[in-house]
Amino acid sequence: MPLPRLCPGHLGLLLLLHATAWGQKAAEKTQPPAAAKPQAIKIAMRDGLRFDPPRFESKPGADVVISLENLDSTDQMHNFVLVKPGKRDAIVNASLLLADKGPALQFVPPGPDVLAASKLLAPEKKDSLRLSLPKEAGVYPFVCTFPGHGLVMYGAAYVGVKMPPLKQDKNIPATAAQTFIAGAGRRPFVQRIFMPDSGPAAIALALPGDLNACWDAGPCRLRYVWKGEFIDATKTWERNGRDLPKLGDKPFWTAAPDDVVIRFGRADAPAPQVKFLGYTLDQGFPTFRYTLDGIEVKERIGVSKAGTVMREFKIAQVPSGVLVSVGDNPNGEGYAAWRSQSGKRDGATLHLTQEEAAAFTLNLETIKQ
C-alpha cells in the first residue's frame, strides 16, 4: 500500500486532549486517583493486521500509558482507537463513511464513542497515550480504523474484568489465539516448510514415538533429529515464512554443516552432483528419491522396532564401493550414533562394498556413557 499523504498530526493531539478531558470528567465523580506511577502497556502493530498483544487487563479508573509502535513491515499505516464497549463495529463503519474526509481525520470518526485515539502511524513510528481508564468495569475494544483494517485488526482492554483464557476470548480475533502444529499431531507426517538450520527447501518429518527430523531437499540429506513435539508453525504461516517454526526440543543429532552422506569409490572422491526427484509416501512414511552423479538413490525414513530413527537406503546400479557419513553427536549423557548391520565402520565413515551398498539401513541409536 502507498503511504497516504497526511497533514501533520494536529488531530492526534486534539484527540489526545479529548481523551484526557474525558478521563478528568470520569475522575470528577470520585476521589482523584493517588499520584502513582501509571501502568505501562506496550502494544505493537504487526504484519497480518494485528495488535500484539491483542489484549490487556487493568483496573477501573487506572492511570495508564499505552506505548504504541508500528512494527508492520508491509508498508501499512495503523492507528489505535479505544472505544466504548460494543462500539467496535459502529466505529469501523463510521470510519469507512468518512470517505474523502478520512485522511484529514486520520480515519478517526468524531463522536462520543471514541475514548482515545493515537496518531496514524507510518511503519516504525511510535506514539503513546496517557489516559485514565473508565470507572465502569467492562471490556473496551480497541481497533485500527485505517480503511480495510478494522474488520480484522482489533483487541480488547479488560477494565476490571478478568481476561478469559486466550483460546476462549471472543473479544479478540480468533487468529490471535490459534496455534498450528503441522499435521495436528498425526505421525508420521511430512511438511515442507522453512526450517531453522537448514537450506530453504527443507522438509520436516514427524515420526512415531515423538521423533522428528529435518531433511533438506536442496543437498538431499538429513539435517537433524529431535524428540518431542513436532513443529509449531503458527507464526511461520502467519508471516509467510518470516518466522521459522518452533521445534518441540533441541536436536539430539545434527549432521555436520557440509556433510556429504554418500561418496562413491574413495573417501577423497568429489561430492557427487545432487538432484532431488521427489518422494513417495507409504503409510505416511516418506521415501526420498534423488540422484547422485546420475545414480538413483532411495532413502526411506521411518522408525525401527526398537524405536530408533531408521534410514533405509537403496541404490540402483552402484558403480563401486560406497562410503557413508555416519557422524556421531555427543549429547548429554552419551551420544547419538548411526549404526548399521552391514559394512565396516572406520571413525565417522561406514565402508560398504558394491554389493552391500545396493540396500543398507542406518539406525540412530543413543549410546549411554
Binding site: S73, A217, E238, L281
Partner: protein, 510 residues
C-alpha cells in the same frame, strides 16, 4: 476503497435513501449473479492458493498450510488429496489422478498411483530456480499455455528481511556482496532495493515442459506476479502489484525475452552486462522495457490484482463469453480487461465485472466449472479473506460496457443494451486522464491529471455503440471515464460505470 461503494454502504447503514436516490441507484451485482459459498473442509486453514477442475466435475483446491483437497459438488464433501506442501500458490489438474502444483521450492506433480484417491507420489518436476529464504519469494502458477507447456512466475524478495545463511541456487553479488546480507540489515536493506533478486529467476516468468521438466526462463521485470493467464487469442498475460517501479498495479502482454519494468531481475539475463540494476538510468530501462498494456488505477480499480482467466464460451455467461477477468485482493470484486493491439502495441481498458459485498475481499483464484465460477480467497496476512465463493449467473444481463476500443479520434464504446436517446450529450461522458511515474519509489500519484474533454458523440443506429471524440491525446495516460449518469433505453444505470483505458498508441485514420 471505492468511493461509490462507500456511499452506497452509507445508504444501507442509515436507511436514509430517498425514493429519488433509490431510483438513481444502479441494480446491485447480486441481481445478476447468485453469490454463494462452499462449506470448507474441517481442520484446514481456508486460504486458497489454487483452484482447478477435475475432468469428472470435482473441484481441486490447495491451501495455505499445504493441503490439496478435492470437492465433490454432488454431495458437497471434501476429500484430502495431498498434504504438507510449502505454500502452494497455484495448481493445474492434469487428469483424475494427477495435479501439478507450484509450491515455494518447486513445481511438483502430485499423483495417485494406486487409485485410492489420495496422492502417494510427490514428483519434483522443476526446482531449477533459487530460494534465498526471504519470506517474500512466493512462487505462482502453473497455467497451461496453448502449446501444452506450463507457465509459472517467481516473486522477488523483500527488503523487509534478509536471506538465509544457506540458499538454493547461485547468489548474485551484484551491487551488494553476499557477506553484507548478514550484517546490520537496517543499513544494508537500503542498498539492496525495496524488492530484490539475488537468486536465479526471481522476478521472472518461466515456461516448463510438463513432460520433461525442461525450463525456459521466458521474460523478466516482474515484482509480485501473482496473476498469470492466457486470453482467448493465446496471449500470455501477467499482472503485478503496485510497488517499487510499479506506479499502480499493472497487466502485461508478455512475449519471450521481454522486460516488464522491475529492474532487479535483469541480472539473470544471459547477456546482462553486470551493471547494478538500481544504478541503470531510468532512460536506459525505458528503452529495455515494454510498458503495461493496462494500468489498474490504484484505489478505484485494483490495488493487488490476482489470477487472470478467460470467461468460457458458454451461454450462461451471456455477452462476456471469451473475455478476460482479473481478481483483486483488496476489495470485493472481479475486474475485466479489454485488450487490443494498436500498431504492434498492446493496450486496453479495465472495469469492474462483479463487485459485491457478498463476494468478499481476497479474490485470489478462479475456476469455471458447469456454469459456476468458483472463487478462492486468501489474505496471506494482508488485506483479504478466506474460503471459496460461488458465482452463478441468474440469466439476467446487466446494462454494462461490453467493449471499449480506441479510434483515431477517441473511443468506441459498445454496450449490452441500447442507450437512452439523450446519450449523445457530452456531459454524460465525463472523466479524467492521468499518468503514473515509472520510478523506484513505491507507487506513484496520478500525474498530469486533467478532465477528459469530449467534443463529439455519435450513436449507432441501434444505440448500442457510441463513438466518443476527443480534441487531442496524451499518450501514456489512462483515460478514466465515469459514466454513472449514462442511461440505457430501459432506464437502467450502468452496473459498472467506471472504465479506464491505458493509451500507449493511437491508430491512424484509415
Amino acid at each position: 476503497m471505492h468511493r461509490l461503494y462507500l456511499i452506497s454502504l452509507g445508504c444501507v447503514l442509515f436507511g436514509t435513501t430517498s425514493l429519488l436516490a433509490q431510483k438513481a441507484q444502479p441494480e446491485p451485482a447480486d441481481a445478476f449473479y447468485a453469490i454463494g459459498k462452499l462449506v470448507m473442509p474441517n481442520g484446514v486453514a481456508p486460504e486458497i492458493g489454487g483452484l482447478g477442475a477435475m475432468p469428472g466435475g470435482r473441484i481441486a483446491a490447495c491451501f495455505h498450510h499445504g493441503q490439496v483437497a478435492i470437492y465433490q459438488p454432488k454431495d458437497k464433501t471434501w476429500k484430502i488429496f495431498a498434504e504438507g506442501l510449502h505454500e502452494p500458490l497455484g495448481l493445474l489438474v492434469e487428469d483424475e489422478h494427477s495435479i501439478l502444483v507450484m509450491q515455494r521450492p518447486e513445481l511438483t506433480r502430485l499423483r495417485d498411483t494406486d487409485g485410492d484417491g489420495v496422492c502417494d507420489s510427490y514428483e519434483t518436476l522443476w526446482d531449477g530456480f533459487g530460494i534465498s529464504g526471504n519470506y517474500h519469494e512466493f512462487a505462482f502458477g502453473p497455467v497451461r499455455a496453448p502449446d501444452g507447456k506450463v507457465v509459472v512466475s517467481l516473486n522477488l524478495a523483500s527488503q523487509g528481511d534478509t536471506v538465509f545463511k544457506e540458499v538454493r541456487g547461485q547468489f548474485s553479488d551484484i551491487g551488494v556482496p553476499r557477506a553484507k546480507f548478514y550484517e546490520g540489515w537496517k543499513k544494508v536493506s537500503k542498498e539492496v532495493g525495496r524488492m530484490y533478486s539475488r537468486v536465479p529467476f526471481r522476478g521472472w516468468v518461466v515456461k516448463i515442459d510438463p513432460a520433461t521438466g525442461a525450463a525456459q526462463p521466458w521474460a523478466c521485470g516482474f515484482r509480485s506476479p501473482d496473476g498469470i493467464g492466457f486470453d482467448a487469442a493465446g496471449n500470455l498475460l501477467v499482472d503485478d502489484n503496485q510497488g517499487d517501479w510499479r506506479g499502480t498495479s499493472e497487466l502485461f502482454v508478455v512475449k519471450q525475452g521481454g522486460f516488464y519494468g522491475h529492474p532487479a531481475s535483469l541480472v539473470w539475463r544471459k547477456d546482462w552486462d553486470g551493471r547494478v540494476p538500481l544504478q541503470v538510468p531510468v532512460a536506459d530501462l525505458e528503452k529495455l522495457r515494454t510498458p503495461a498494456a493496462v494500468w489498474f488505477p490504484h484505489g478505484h480499480f485494483a490495488n493487488s490484482p490476482t489470477q487472470i482467466m478467460q470467461i468460457p464460451s458458454s451461454k450462461a455467461w451471456g455477452p462476456y463469453a471469451g473475455q478476460t477477468i482479473v481478481g483483486e485482493m483488496n476489495s470485493p470484486k472481479i475486474l475485466r480487461v479489454l485488450l487490443e493491439e494498436v500498431g504492434g502495441v498492446w493496450q486496453g481498458a479495465t472495469l469492474n465485472w462483479i463487485q459485491s459485498e457478498t463476494l468478499k475481499r481476497g479474490v485470489h483464484r478462479f475456476v469455471f466449472a458447469n456454469d459456476v465460477l468458483y472463487v478462492g480467497r486468501t489474505h496471506l496476512s494482508w488485506a483479504g479473506s478466506e474460503g471459496i465463493g460461488t458465482i452463478t449467473p441468474t440469466g439476467k444481463v446487466p446494462f454494462d460496457v461490453l467493449d471499449m476500443k480506441i479510434t483515431p479520434k477517441g473511443f468506441r464504446f459498445t454496450f449490452t443494451e441500447p442507450l437512452d436517446e439523450t446519450s449523445g450529450s457530452e456531459e454524460l461522458w465525463a472523466g479524467e486522464h492521468y499518468g503514473y511515474s515509472y520510478h523506484k519509489d513505491y507507487g506513484s500519484p496520478q500525474i498530469a491529471k486533467d478532465e477528459i474533454e469530449v467534443t463529439k458523440i455519435t450513436l449507432s443506429a441501434d444505440r448500442k455503440t457510441a463513438e466518443v471524440e476527443l480534441p487531442e491525446w496524451t499518450l501514456n495516460h489512462v483515460y478514466e471515464f465515469r459514466l454513472d449518469k449514462l442511461k440505457a433505453d430501459s432506464g437502467r444505470l450502468l452496473l459498472n460505470p467506471r472504465i479506464a483505458y491505458t493509451v500507449r498508441r493511437v491508430p491512424h485514420a484509415p
